[in-house]
């Protein structure tokens, strides 16, 4: 699980969902209660309209300890590019605390992505080595064109990390 740390004494935590490669699509942002299948917050949007795709999490911030932020993203792949990129970034006090990115390419008209991370208080007793390891953590997901049931191919990298 990707961990993103925040300062419970800082400003409100904000989450932004975005799509790269100039692709369009729709998304649903969710905030899951810690250790429960309860959705605390749910927002829908798309990358075509002019609405902001940034959402402020409930305050006080310590309510969000252990909660999971999640973005379900469906992207339409407009030619000539078959590439896609979607990012969910967590911000606090104009500083990016961490982000989860999924990149790849597909020969299908659309691709559905699941981006998520768990929120933790940065004053949780973890030593600096653990935090550095989290900050540099990178997950590579790679699928071949032919082995997915829906034909979706991905050469994808999820970048995430944590910082105080």
């Amino acid at each position: 699980m990707k961990i993103i740390s925040f300062n419970k004494d800082g400003g409100p935590i904000c989450v932004t969902v975005s799509a790269g490669e100039a692709q369009t699509g729709s998304y649903e942002f969710r905030l899951w209660e810690a250790d429960k299948n309860d959705v605390v917050m749910k927002k829908s949007g798309n990358f075509n309209n002019s609405d902001e795709d940034t959402y402020e999490l409930p305050t006080p911030n310590d309510l969000n300890i252990g909660r999971q932020v999640q973005a379900i993203v469906v992207l339409a792949l407009l030619p000539p590019s078959n590439d896609y990129s979607a990012t969910m970034s967590v911000m606090q006090d104009d500083e990016e605390l961490g982000k989860v990115t999924m990149e790849g390419s597909s020969d299908q008209p659309s691709v559905s992505l699941n981006l998520y991370a768990e929120l933790e208080d940065d004053d949780d007793g973890k030593d600096s080595d653990e935090k550095s390891a989290e900050a540099e953590d990178r997950t590579v997901v790679q699928n071949d064109d032919d082995d997915d049931e829906d034909g979706t191919s991905a050469n994808s990298t999820a970048n995430g990390g944590s910082s105080a």
Binding site: A22, F47, N48, P79, P109, D150
Partner: protein, 393 residues
Amino acid sequence: MRHNPLPTLTIMAGLFFCLGGIATAQPGLTPALDALLPKDLQISDSTRPPNLASTYRVDFALPDAPAFVLLDESPSDILRPSTVREFAVDLSSFVDTSTGGFTIPQAFALEFSPGLLIGGHDLTLREYQATPWLYRMRLSAGTKRLSGATAPSELAVGIRTSFIDKSDLRTNKTLLKQVTDITDQMLVVVASAVGPGTGDGAEVIDPSQLSASQRATIDSLNGVLQKTILAAQQKAAEQWNAPALDLAVAALFSSKDSLASGLQTADVSGWLTYAAGFGTWGQLLLGGKAGMARANGPLGDSTTDSASSSTFDLTATVSSRLYIGTNNYKAFAELQWADVHDTNTLLINGGGEAMLRSGLWISFGGGVQRNLDAGTWDVISKFSVKLGLPFLE
């Protein structure tokens, strides 16, 4: 103006990948806007939708790259607007102008579009739409070497962009609205099947997470999405005479030999061309070219001596060209006035172009050029064969 009075065979090999196009649609997916209605969501064909990028190929006529125009010896200076292509190669002069025999092409130019490489993964749709001309930019470079081991060489570089490009899907608001409506529907299905994440933090949602009926719905919506995009592409491709506005700049350098010794600037020019359509049958190009050219031309120019000049002449050209026909078959007439090296000329030119098969174009033309200062006439002609990727496949 560098002018070759002999008939010239120019072969332009255009190797490019798709963006819009009029090539054959995928069997079973004949574009029909009626089919985009929700009642047609069900798709009987269970085969997966094909790659959209490979479904359509551009089959518009292939204009020259700016760098190639400076290298070319054609008296026509208008830069024809074009839709964005990812890659194109121009080869010229398969005919030796002195002997009339076949020869290795002396001029070579390529044009490519960095396109979405600018901004890459982080480029959002809104950022793209704010400055689409930046992502429609095409860079070109070319070289030309005259016969002989120590013959002078010419090198040209150019840059072009399109301020109006009707084939750009990312600025097609109608299409984007349709596409987003479809992804909204897909999202409802997918989101209902996905719970909190338990993996590494980012994943492509596997269809196995969906029920059979949900997978069927997603497949249907993918089919509708593909039809929608293909219909938009085809509509753009059918508008061969859609309005266009291109701006380009290119520079020509010449050297005494192939080692680029004594490299010097020979010509720096800019083009602005606007294209307006008339119904489905006509297109009028209005263009201008202005720049500075070394007074005695590039080194090795057959019309000048090879001595270098330190002075430059202002050059100016005003052109108009009218195309009449369809995308595949057109006739054109051209009128151009030019002031180059203090010589005023008037060009009256005409001809036609035809697509023999997908990716294979021929164009031909002829006319007269009047030297308004000397009162002389020159006869000019040109025949071009253009090969595109669909032909080569």
